[in-house]
Subunit: 226 residues, 2 copies
Amino acid sequence: MSYRLLLVEDDNSIRETIEDYLRAKGGEDYNLTVAANGDEGRFLIESEEFDLLMLDIMLPGVDGFSLCRTARRKSDVPIIFLTARGREDDILYGYELGCDDYIVKPFSLPQLFAKVKALLSRAAGNISGQVMTCGEISLNTRTFQVFSGGREVELAPKEYEILHFLLRHRQNVCTREAILVALWGYEYEGDERILDNHMKKLRKALGDAGKQIKTVITKGYKLVEL
Amino acid sequence: MSYRLLLVEDDNSIRETIEDYLRAKGGEDYNLTVAANGDEGRFLIESEEFDLLMLDIMLPGVDGFSLCRTARRKSDVPIIFLTARGREDDILYGYELGCDDYIVKPFSLPQLFAKVKALLSRAAGNISGQVMTCGEISLNTRTFQVFSGGREVELAPKEYEILHFLLRHRQNVCTREAILVALWGYEYEGDERILDNHMKKLRKALGDAGKQIKTVITKGYKLVEL
DNA sequence: TGTATTTGGAAAATATTGTAAAAATTAGGC
DNA sequence: GCCTAATTTTTACAATATTTTCCAAATACA
């Protein structure tokens, strides 16, 4: 099975150079999908599963930072920014958004490739399989189906995203802040308690298995196997 | 529980700059050990456990590349090279040896710090020591679980924090004042005796293992193994 | 005996959950 | 396209539950 990589880059020559290099060096091990603009990129990120993203920042349409936020809403996929902007602020902002690495153009292809390999091996454990399970709850990231105690349940979009987040961090306590930042975005200003409400609905929708979501007072929530 | 980082760097000023920055920005969350030469570094890598290594390459004694090999022989610990050598070959060689990232001097401290945080969070699943133990009591800072005599116990937030503090200073006497300052803050104005009450509840919650919290009259409390 | 600590209980402060309705978004029909 | 109906998300507030604090009596210690 090969790694599925996504490259979002509007510069044709860079895109093709990377494509050629990966094909030459990586052969069948890497399956590269490319997008030439942000909108295409977002569509792909939302509809498919990748093992690593390489994102240009300045793009026609949606920019790379937004793509990163979109990706982080649904997964922990490794992300490398790939951009001409070498400004300190941009780089730090990228890390704030949860990127893994940052490479400034013009860059060396062998170095990019080395980073990609290092990150894939580091993330090996979390490569998103199709089905995530915890106790009685399971979630299929491809079909967006959720099963609780063997029965399929219908979740509202936000409920699905929250459950997905909890599954990605199962056993760990997720602070309200962490969930809000991941799902609502860094700059969300609204009521903190909004999450509690969604939790209630999620628990209710999950029925008996809702008990697997434990509240850790003053800390947040965590998903356990019971 | 804090992350244990190791920095091997022979340049005094760089070493101190990083130390100061981490202390200022990371506070108690990062526990930095430093070594000024390769031999010291190797001894530490072989004898202790770290959550992340920052290695200079050109060092008196054993060089950074060798340190990386030594570390990889026994673990998957995240490794960042930190060096003046920006040569392509060196960088690629570093990745060959299994490093995670490479930062060329002179570098920006915020960027280094951002990389450290990103890597630690990426490697979170594999981080070894999240558990603090003393006798029959153990505490997991990732899941916020506390076990006493093999059974999980539920602690109120203040109780958890007090136990966490005692574990961080196990075997040492913790004065009332030290605990109050650490957990309530300098400006706390309330009753001094409040701690006694929390101690009572903590001991009760821990059951038999509550006996491990010793009162040192007129001094404070300490956690022992019995 | 005087000082320090422990204990129990109740009030005060916080945090979480439940309910309901307003606002925003989406989907379908015309 | 535009409007309406249905669903989802957000907001606000009331009801519960939990935790923290305070106080005073009881106990232990030097």
